[in-house]
Symmetry: C2
Subunit: 298 residues, 2 copies
C-alpha cells in the first residue's frame, strides 16, 4: 500500500487528520516520570520511552499518526536514540503512522543513507515518512523520493515553516513574483505528481507548511494540489482549526495536522490544569485530543 | 579555549588544515571488517566503529580534525548511533577536533535540543562543532550560536554546497545582485563577527563552502572574512589544492579541508591500489593522507 493510501485510510478510519507530536521535554514530563537525574542520559531516555508509549496508549485509538521529534531523543545521545527506536516500534505495533521529524538532508549518496536507514518498515528505524530540508536542492531530494517509492514511504519537504525567522530565506523574492518558498512548492508538487499512484489523488512527496501562516497555507494548497501537507504550529504556536481549514480537501484529506505540546503536556494549561492537573495527566491528554478532534471536525 | 582558538592551535600543531571525513560505507570497507551480514545492524555498526577507530589510529598524529557523517551511522539505527558515540569519544581521546556532520536544524526550542545534545564536551555526543542548515532562518540559528558560545564549540552553516543541485535554491537571484547564498554568507559573517573573542580573528560561527566551486569559494572568502570555512568536496568530488587555496589565509588558517572517501578508501584507487591493495589498506590511508598534506602545503 502506498504512503498516500495508507495515510488516507488511516485518516478515514479515525475520522480526523491529527498527528500527535512526540516532543518529550524532561522538565515538562509529569512528576511520575521524572525520577532520573537530568545528567543520567539512560535514565532520561527510559523516561521518554515510557512517557511516549503511555501517550500512545491513550491516543492510538483516537488519531491516525504520531510525529516523533528526533532532536529531543538525540539530545540524550545514543540511549536517547535507542529510546526513539523503541518508540517507533511501539507506534507501529499500535497501528499508528510514524512521521520521523528529523529535517534531514545531505548530498546524493549521503542522502541515500538517511533514506535507506529511516524510511520503510524494513529499514533500521522503520518510519513511514521523514521530514526533509530542501536547501541542498533537487539532487539531494532524489534519493529520498526513490527510496520512498520503493518502500511505500513518504517524505515531507520543508516549504513554509511555522517560525517567524523562516521568512529570512523562504520569503526572499526571486523574480517573477516568486519567493523561494513558491519555487520549492512548485518543485514539490511536480515530485508529488510524479509519484501519484493509480487510484490515488496525492503522491508520496509532501510539504511542511506551518499553521501560523494561514494565507500562505491557502495559497500553497492551490500551488500543490497533489501534495500531502504536514501542518505544524497548531495549538501552542497559535494555529487554530480555522487557520488550517484550507489545507484539507472536501473529504477531510490532504493534510496531517500536528500538535505536540498542546496534547502531551495538556495538564500544564487550562482548562485541563484545573480539571485534571498533573496527577491525572493522562485524562488531560485524552481530553485535549478529543477537543482537537472536535475543533477540526466541526 | 574558544572553538576558533582550539582549531587554530590544532592546525598549527599538525601543520595542515585537514579533516578526515568518517563516512563508513559497508560495501567499501576492507574485507577484514566485512564479517557481518548487512542486515545485522549491530554487526555493521560494530564494524564501522572498529574501522573508524583504526583510521584514527593512523591519521590522528597527522591531521587536526575528523568529520563523522551522521547519516552513515544513522542508517544502521540505534546500534549505528551507539557506534557514532563511541567513535566521537575515541576521536577526543586521540586529541582530534570532532565536527559532527548532521546538517541539523529546527525551530527555536527544538534547535536548542540539538545544540544542547551535540555541542560541547559536556553534551551527550561531545562534538566540538556541528553542521547546520539555514533554511529555517535566523531564529533557528540563534540557539546553536548561543550554545556554541557557552560551550566553546562551533557551528558551520551551509552556504554553498558542493553538489550541482545546490544551485537550485542557493543560486537563486534575490535582487540587488545577491543570490540566496550571498545573503546567507553575509548573515553568517555577521554572526562570526559577533562571536569573535579577544585575541582571535575568526568567530565560532563558520560556513560550509564546497571545494567544487572555486570561484565562489574565493568570492565568499571576501564576503566572510571572520568565518571559518568547512570545505567539503576535495578529492573524490573533484576539488583540488588549487581550488581550495583561496579559503586559507596567509597563515594557513581560516578553513578546514575535508576529504572522506579519498582517504578512507584510498586502497580502492590508484596509485594506492597498485602500491598497497586491500591487504595493506592502512598504508593506503596513511600515504593518501600524507599526499594530501603535501598537496595543501606546497
Amino acid at each position: 500500500m502506498t504512503f498516500s493510501k495508507l495515510l488516507s485510510e488511516a485518516i478515514k478510519k479515525k475520522g480526523n487528520p491529527i498527528s500527535v507530536g512526540l516532543d518529550p521535554r524532561y522538565e515538562s514530563l509529569p512528576a511520575v516520570f521524572r525520577t532520573a537525574d537530568k545528567a543520567d542520559t539512560s535514565g532520561v531516555a527510559a523516561a521518554f520511552e515510557k512517557f511516549c508509549c503511555a501517550v500512545m496508549d491513550i491516543t492510538a485509538p483516537l488519531v491516525p499518526a504520531v510525529k516523533p521529534q528526533s532532536a529531543f531523543f538525540e539530545q540524550y545521545g545514543p540511549p536517547g536514540m535507542s529510546a526513539l527506536g523503541n518508540v517507533i516500534r511501539y507506534a507501529r505495533e499500535k497501528g499508528l503512522i510514524v512521521i520521523f521529524d528529523g529535517k534531514r538532508n545531505d548530498i546524493g549518496s549521503t542522502a541515500a543513507a538517511y533514506a535507506a536507514g529511516i524510511l520503510g518498515a524494513q529499514s533500521a528505524w522503520g518510519a513511514d515518512a521523514l521530514t526533509v530540508s530542501p536547501y541542498l536542492g533537487d539532487d539531494s531530494l532524489e534519493p529520498f523520493v526513490k527510496t520512498a517509492m520503493e518502500r511505500n514511504a513518504g517524505i515531507f519537504v520543508l516549504v513554509k515553516t511555522s517560525n517567524p525567522g523562516g521568512a529570512m530565506i523562504q520569503d526572499l523574492h526571486t523574480g517573477g513574483n516568486q519567493t523561494v518558498y513558491h519555487r520549492i512548492a512548485r518543485y514539490v508538487n511536480k515530485l508529488s505528481l510524479e509519484t501519484v499512484q493509480q487510484g490515488e489523488h496525492y503522491g508520496s512527496v509532501g510539504a511542511v507548511v506551518g499553521a501560523t501562516y494561514p494565507e500562505q497555507l491557502a495559497e500553497l494548497r492551490k500551488t500543490m494540489p497533489y501534495s500531502w501537507f504536514l501542518v505544524p504550529g497548531y495549538g501552542s504556536q497559535g494555529g487554530t482549526a480555522k487557520d488550517v481549514a484550507a489545507s484539507l480537501d472536501e473529504n477531510g484529506l490532504g493534510a496531517v495536522i500536528n500538535n505536540s505540546r498542546g496534547l502531551l503536556f495538556a495538564y500544564q494549561r487550562e482548562p485541563y490544569l484545573s480539571r485534571f492537573g498533573e496527577q491525572q495527566w493522562e485524562k488531560a491528554v485524552e481530553a485535549a485530543t478529543l477537543d482537537m478532534i472536535a475543533e477540526l471536525t466541526l
